[in-house]
């Protein structure tokens, strides 16, 4: 074959780059091993699809490269090639075979869809997941337990293995998406509509990370959470311990607040309505936080210049609530106050003097 040196080097470079990419990619061309039985079905389906995909890729790229190399116009070859306009047999073949292929793949994936979307009648555990800008609340209605994410790692969802888990998805503001890559699964969290899915987990004692997969505003990228699996026995023990802990926590002290009271409110999830507060040094004080945001809870917390958290206000102020936080005495200085639910963007300066 007569390739001019320039063309040859072009082909070599492109070929090498392609080969490196493909080889580097091969093992990584598959998703992680699934943590759930539904995810395992999806992974199997993906692998089935990959067989014809890779075959078609190799066939077509091969034909392109072959035509390019074999049918180059040589120097001095001035004959017009045969002017073929078509070939019915060939054209019917490459219409019918792909049609059959996609129909088969469609039916296979329909089977998997039915398995993945199946919802057995009696789930062992039901979880209510609520997404809001930009955290999650995980609630277990059976056990009266509820956890709202705080800080930039979000909340932990504790789940038993070997049992059917039923997840219900709620949103009060914009659309989010509940996504755990190791489940090979996501489902959108849509206001005005409750989505459901079921889950069977396999390995106990494992932690998976998840995060919101639907753009939901400026904090979308840090709407993270963690899933932690337990054996059913450990899970029951955990539930009991948590319920006991919830009973032991005293209700927030009503009245008897010491020191001056500072007013603070929040009408959105992007910032507090006030961005600077001042308080007396060496004396406890009270912060009254009014949450005017429709969809999300907030609180009032304090950190010092080094980022060390000195005070975390609990419980959170739910939408429409006003909560008073009694803050212990602080030495004079400049501090940052923030909302633990929205720690990166809801901040302000607290001057103590």
């Amino acid at each position: 074959m007569q390739l001019s040196p320039r063309v040859r080097s072009v082909v070599t470079v492109a070929g090498l780059a392609g080969a490196v990419l493909l080889l580097g990619g091969c093992s990584a061309l598959y998703p992680p091993n699934a943590a759930s039985s539904q995810g395992a079905d999806i992974r199997t389906l993906y692998s089935i699809f990959m067989v014809p995909m890779i075959a078609i890729f190799v066939l077509v790229e091969g034909l392109i490269v072959w035509s390019v190399l074999r049918y180059r116009r040589r120097k001095g070859d001035d004959e017009l090639p045969v002017q073929t306009h078509g070939n019915n047999l060939l054209e019917i073949t490459w219409t019918v075979l792909p049609t059959l292929l996609v129909l088969v793949l469609f039916f296979v994936s329909w089977q998997t869809l039915n398995k993945v979307d199946a919802e057995p009648a009696n789930p062992a555990v039901t979880v209510d997941v609520t997404g809001f800008q930009w955290q999650w609340t995980f609630a277990y209605p059976q056990y009266n337990l509820s956890y709202t994410g705080i800080g930039d790692q979000g909340p932990v969802l504790v789940l038993p293995v070997d049992e059917v888990i039923h997840v219900r998805l709620h949103s009060n503001d914009v659309i989010h998406s509940f996504y755990v890559p190791d489940f090979l699964f996501k489902r959108d969290v849509i206001p005005g509509q409750v989505n459901n899915f079921d889950l069977n987990l396999k390995d106990a004692g494992v932690t998976y990370t998840g995060q919101c997969a639907q753009l939901c505003g400026m904090g979308h990228y840090q709407m993270r959470f963690t899933v932690q699996t337990m054996t059913p026995a450990n899970f029951q023990a955990w539930v009991q311990a948590e319920q006991a802990k919830a009973k032991a926590t005293p209700a927030p002290a009503a009245g008897g607040q010491a020191g001056p009271t500072l007013q603070l409110s929040a009408s959105s999830t992007t910032s507090f309505d006030e961005t600077s507060l001042s308080a007396p040094a060496g004396q406890p004080f009270t912060v009254q936080l009014t949450n005017k945001t429709a969809g999300a809870p907030h609180n009032f917390s304090i950190k010092d210049a080094s980022g060390k958290v000195l005070f975390t206000g609990l419980p959170l102020a739910q939408p429409g609530q006003t909560v008073s936080y009694s803050v212990p005495a602080l030495p004079a200085g400049t501090y940052t106050f923030f909302c633990s639910v929205h720690p990166t963007n809801m901040t302000g300066t607290l001057t103590v003097k």
């Binding site: 470079v13 780059a17 392609g18 990619g25 990584a28 061309l29 998703p31 992680p32 999806i42 389906l45 993906y46 699809f49 990959m50 995909m53 077509v60 790229e61 034909l63 392109i64 035509s67 049918y71 180059r72 001095g76 001035d78 004959e79 017009l80 090639p81 045969v82 002017q83 078509g86 070939n87 054209e91 219409t95 792909p98 049609t99 996609v102 469609f106 994936s109 329909w110 869809l113 914009v174 659309i175 998406s177 996504y179 890559p181 090979l184 996501k186 489902r187 849509i190 005005g192 509509q193 989505n195 990370t209 995060q211 639907q214 753009l215 505003g217 400026m218 990228y221 840090q222 429709a294």
Partner: protein, 556 residues
């Protein structure tokens, strides 16, 4: 029927400045060049935004922009690339080539043509002005509600809406103009089944635009009412339905992606036969496949909504699976056209081969998403970003560059330099694969799209760094192209009328063509009138060693 006035009018008593000519022209060729220039400028702008996005993602941590700026960047990048780069690039190519290829003197409605064009820069300026009024739109090019409601987003979104109303109107007018031109102004002998494949793809695209875009413009208008006059179409807090927006958006949005790829396929179907010295293999099958894609394209929209839990999955999964078939037919047709041909690799052909080998991936990684369970895993991850770019960049943009190198000598009478063209091609091909292929792997590992930052613990850093390097290779590859255009336009205009030994009518007139295009036309007896003229119908004769001088004989 408004027929074009052919007489150039009485003798001019004064000369108008060149600038005035360009600002007021209604000549389809000049408007086409305006479209292309405008698109290229927005391509540079949106490309710059992409470089900022990629620089931000190169390593974990927010180094250059904060997350709300980041959201504005990818929103403006995506919206610009789709509405101000690709659509107008293709409209520009259509504007330039369609009347020439069907032997017409101009578009059917020259003044509406100028109006359609001038709405684009206006829309673009409005949309970008958001950056100076408290932030541009930041909800992604899909602008899902309730995020796009006034409660959750700034006034940049209103500018985005107004801009898209303008741009949408522009493309609706443009599509009517193309349809009227193609149906009414074909030269004698140019039957529908003798039209070049490119003209067919522009025709089907125009039909898609005409049917789909009004749904979109209505949708954004409703969004505007929601935001400014207390409408309640898409906001569940006041009784609206956010899924309604998604249905309206994707009813347009999916045909839109075919709008963005079909004319590029048309370009490839012009370039591959000419440089293989053969006719397109299976002309009728090709047109049938184009029509099928156009038709099926209206029944697949909800595959963008598989994870919403609000659509009937098997139906949309089936239609989506089927739409892969006509695309497959086209691939085999292109390869069969090259088969046993005598291929020469001038830059247009290089980009065509680049299109074939890269767009293939965008076809396959999209076909797998037709399976709802697989989509549950990959939706809204970087897999989707990989897919978008293999289609739009590896596909459409490669087609646009093939067309640019192919028709440049017709537009300006000079051929772009082959050496610089090859450098451009090689860098761009490598850059495309290095930037976008690893995104598949990130998607499989679970990196969601539209995130400003990721944790170092996620293990996504290496691939992201590689992608950022790739994006700078792409950026560099554009420089030789710009230099090439610059020096070629300053050089001699010696390309001749028919530098590629072409098949279709645009090569039968001078380069550049005179106003109103043709003095006489060769007889049109097949889809390759000029080939018939030069080689005789179906005869097997010798190829010229050098480029042929055009014979301008023949009846009309």
């Amino acid at each position: 029927m408004a027929t074009t006035v052919l007489a150039p009018g009485a003798t001019r008593t004064y000369r108008r400045s060149a600038l005035y000519e360009w600002l007021t022209t209604t000549d389809h060729k000049k408007i086409g060049i305006l479209y292309l220039t405008n698109s290229f400028l927005f391509f540079l702008l949106a490309g710059l935004l992409a470089l900022v996005i990629r620089s931000e993602l190169a390593v974990p941590g927010l180094q250059f922009v904060n997350s709300s700026t980041y959201n504005q960047l990818f929103t403006m990048h995506g919206t610009t690339m789709i509405f101000l780069v690709l659509m107008p690039f293709l409209a520009g190519l259509g504007n330039y080539a369609v009347p020439l290829q069907i032997g017409a003197a101009d578009m059917a409605f020259p003044r509406i043509n100028a109006l359609s064009f001038w709405m684009l820069p206006l829309g673009g300026i409005l949309m970008f002005s958001g950056f100076f009024f408290g932030g541009a739109a930041a909800e992604g090019w899909t602008s899902y509600s309730p995020l796009a409601q006034a409660k959750y987003s700034g006034s940049g979104t209103d500018l985005w809406i107004v801009a898209l109303l303008l741009i949408g109107t522009s493309s609706i007018l443009g599509s009517i103009n193309f349809l009227a031109t193609i149906f009414k102004l074909r030269a004698p002998g140019m039957t529908l089944l003798r039209m070049p494949v490119f003209v067919w793809t522009v025709m089907v695209t125009s039909l898609l635009i005409l049917l789909a875009t009004p749904v979109f413009t209505s949708g954004v208008f409703m969004l505007y009412i929601d935001r400014n006059f207390g409408g309640a179409f898409f906001d569940p807090a006041s009784g609206g339905n956010p899924i309604l927006w998604q249905n309206l958006f994707w009813f347009f949005g999916h045909p839109e992606v075919y709008i963005l790829i079909l004319p590029a396929m048309g370009v490839i179907s012009e370039v591959v036969p000419v440089f293989s010295r053969k006719p397109i293999f299976g002309y009728k099958a090709f047109i049938f496949a184009t029509l099928l894609i156009g038709g099926l394209g209206f029944s697949v929209w909800a595959h963008h909504m598989f994870t919403t839990g609000a659509v009937y999955l098997p139906f949309f999964s089936l239609t989506t699976s089927l739409i892969g078939v006509p695309t497959g037919i086209k691939f085999f047709n292109w390869i069969a056209t090259m088969w046993r041909g005598k291929i020469s690799f001038a830059t247009p052909m290089l980009f065509a081969v680049g299109f074939l080998s890269t767009f293939l991936v965008g076809g396959l990684d999209g076909a797998i998403l037709a399976s709802p369970p697989v989509d549950f895993a990959l939706h809204d991850t970087y897999w989707i970003v990989a897919h978008i770019h293999f289609v739009f960049f590896g596909g459409t943009m490669f087609g646009v560059f093939a067309a640019a190198y192919y028709w440049f000598p017709k537009m300006f009478g000079a051929r772009l330099d082959e050496g610089l063209g090859k450098i451009h091609f090689v860098l761009m091909l490598i850059g495309t694969w290095v930037t976008f292929f690893p995104m598949h792997l990130l998607g499989l590992e679970g990196m969601p799209r539209r995130i400003a930052d990721y944790s170092p613990a996620a293990g996504w850093t290496d691939l992201n760094t590689v992608e950022t390097i790739g994006s700078f290779i792409i950026a560099i590859s554009v420089l030789p192209f710009m230099w090439n255009v610059f020096v070629t336009l300053r050089g001699p205009r010696d390309a001749g009328d028919d530098p590629w030994d072409g098949y279709t009518l645009e090569w039968a007139t001078t380069s550049p063509p005179p106003p109103y295009n043709f003095d006489h036309l060769p007889p049109i007896r097949s889809e390759r009138p000029l080939f018939d003229l030069k080689y005789g119908h179906g005869a097997r004769r010798a190829l010229p060693s050098a480029s042929v001088a055009t014979t301008q004989e023949g009846a009309s």
